[in-house]
């Protein structure tokens, strides 16, 4: 269970991982995640929270810290109407579930910023706590599910090379 963070505007990588803090350790960089659009985000986000974004989520740079800071801060899943390709790949590779909202799906009015939601990875659904209204997310291809289940690309490759 977690809080829903709803963003209507397009979120780019400079907002997620500002260039000025890119030389800093992840813990420091993450303090500035989204501060440009939602200054309270980094200090109040909690483990299990879900980020729901609009179009072209994560547009911009290839810096994977843009996805990494979200995972570091405890975001359990990023859902968007559409993703920028590199951000999407980065999120999956880091083991951060990223799901598309099905095309033409109407977000029911219960899913407003700040409500409690439950994210069910196995069944690819987001549940509004209280009303139990669900959003069915576009399922991932099997090999990407496996990658996330392994904990991301590195753990996946560790299985292959190191036999862990």
């Amino acid at each position: 269970m977690g809080r829903l963070w709803l963003f209507d505007e397009t979120i780019n990588t400079d907002v997620l991982a500002p260039g000025f803090y890119m030389k800093s350790p992840l813990a420091e960089l993450s303090k500035h995640c989204l501060e440009a659009v939602r200054p309270e985000f980094a200090s109040t986000v909690q483990k299990g929270d879900v980020l729901l974004a609009g179009e072209n989520m994560g547009v911009g740079s290839s810096r994977e810290q843009a996805a990494e800071v979200l995972k570091f801060l405890g975001i359990s899943c990023v859902i968007a109407k559409s993703f920028a390709g590199i951000f999407y790949r980065n999120a999956i590779n880091l083991g951060l579930p990223a799901f598309l909202l099905p095309k033409d799906s109407q977000l029911s009015k219960e899913f407003v910023d700040g409500v409690s939601v439950i994210f069910d990875f196995e069944n690819c659904i987001l549940i509004h706590e209280g009303s139990d209204i669900k959003i069915n997310l576009d399922p991932l291809p099997a090999f990407l599910r496996e990658l996330i289940n392994d904990g991301g690309l590195v753990s996946h490759l560790e299985k292959r090379f190191v036999g862990k």
Binding site: T13, V15, A67, A84, I86, Y88
Partner: protein, 422 residues
Amino acid sequence: MSTLAQKIIANACSRNAVEPGEIVVCSVDLAMIHDSGGPRRVKPILEKLNRKVWDNEKVVVVTDHYVPIESEETRAIQELTKKWVITQDIQNFYDQQGICHVVVPEKGHLKPGMFCVGGDSHSPTGGAFGAYMFGIGATEMAGVLATGEIWLKVPKTIYIKWKGKLNRLVTAKDMMLATCRQIGMGGGQYQAIQYIGDAIYDLSVQDRMTLSNMAAELGAQTGLIAPDEKTIRFINQSGGLVPENWKSFCLDKPASNANVTEFDASILSPQIAAPHSPENSENADEFANTVFDVAYIGACTGAKYVDLAAAASILKGRKIASGVTLKVAPASLKDEKQALDDGILKILQDAGAEFLPNSCGICAGYGKDRLAEEQVCLSSTARNFQGRMGAHTSQVYLASPYTVAASAVVGKMIDPRELMVN
């Protein structure tokens, strides 16, 4: 019939043909990394996997982000990079010689038909050489370096067709800003863009690199241009070995049902994109008299040799206006040297330009010259997201080097043709 993208991908996954939507695993011909997303990020992962790079001859390392060294943090990053390159026995290491997207082709590494990845979002630049090249993050890059492979969903090809002839003082950057407005930053849908039409082939190879580079701004995975004689000449002059079968990659005829967006170069005016997106572009005269503090000629799409030459053609015999600073960061050492030899740097200097190192610098918000609070910058770079080039309250307008230079002379934004009426 296969598109250029499909043909390269089919080769890379050892198939006769591939169809859009298929997921395939490709062998990588070249992996480019830089000091920011490269060694410092991939080293711990490769150590964890107990692997060295799969093929040291297929890896190119460039330092361009934390250049110049200006703190203990950036020194540590550069030292780590240098040591790692030695331990991995990587010969293709270009230390502080310019921005990766410009340095890699100028050293002859990119050729038609190659399948390449880069640890930077502007990696589609390689498309200007008929190579399928795209940007990936550091973890995925570590995966490539360990295995030599990467998965990919075969893209559809979206054609951007520019017919007609560009007018004087209108450039590839103007074409690109107009394209961003027309199809939007998500218009590329992470598919392959291919630029076609007479106006594309009329461009110099360095100008084509601007188009391919900014396929990233369209949200495409790559931005291809089919090779022609100009491409081959560029590669030969860069010391690259051109593959004998290069003509088999001259595929630029869209199928009858293909997605083609057509533009007419002959009616294009110089463009300016307002903060905070490249798609906020309009004809430059819509911004007439907008004031700014810093004129910046820099970065991979804005300070190559052709861009420096364009700025110099405006600034020759002129001075920049008082109250405006002109900063120039030539995209590579090679381009800077050529500009020096041709008298271009002298012209820029006499006009009042201040020179910065051959690095990503202000464009990526790195270094001491990043924009201060409330500063307004007119920039020849590719991306103007809020806060990208410095303080959150700074504002960045994008334009061609002609427009940046002419506006610096007037002290206000201007269509460069108004300054150069004669």
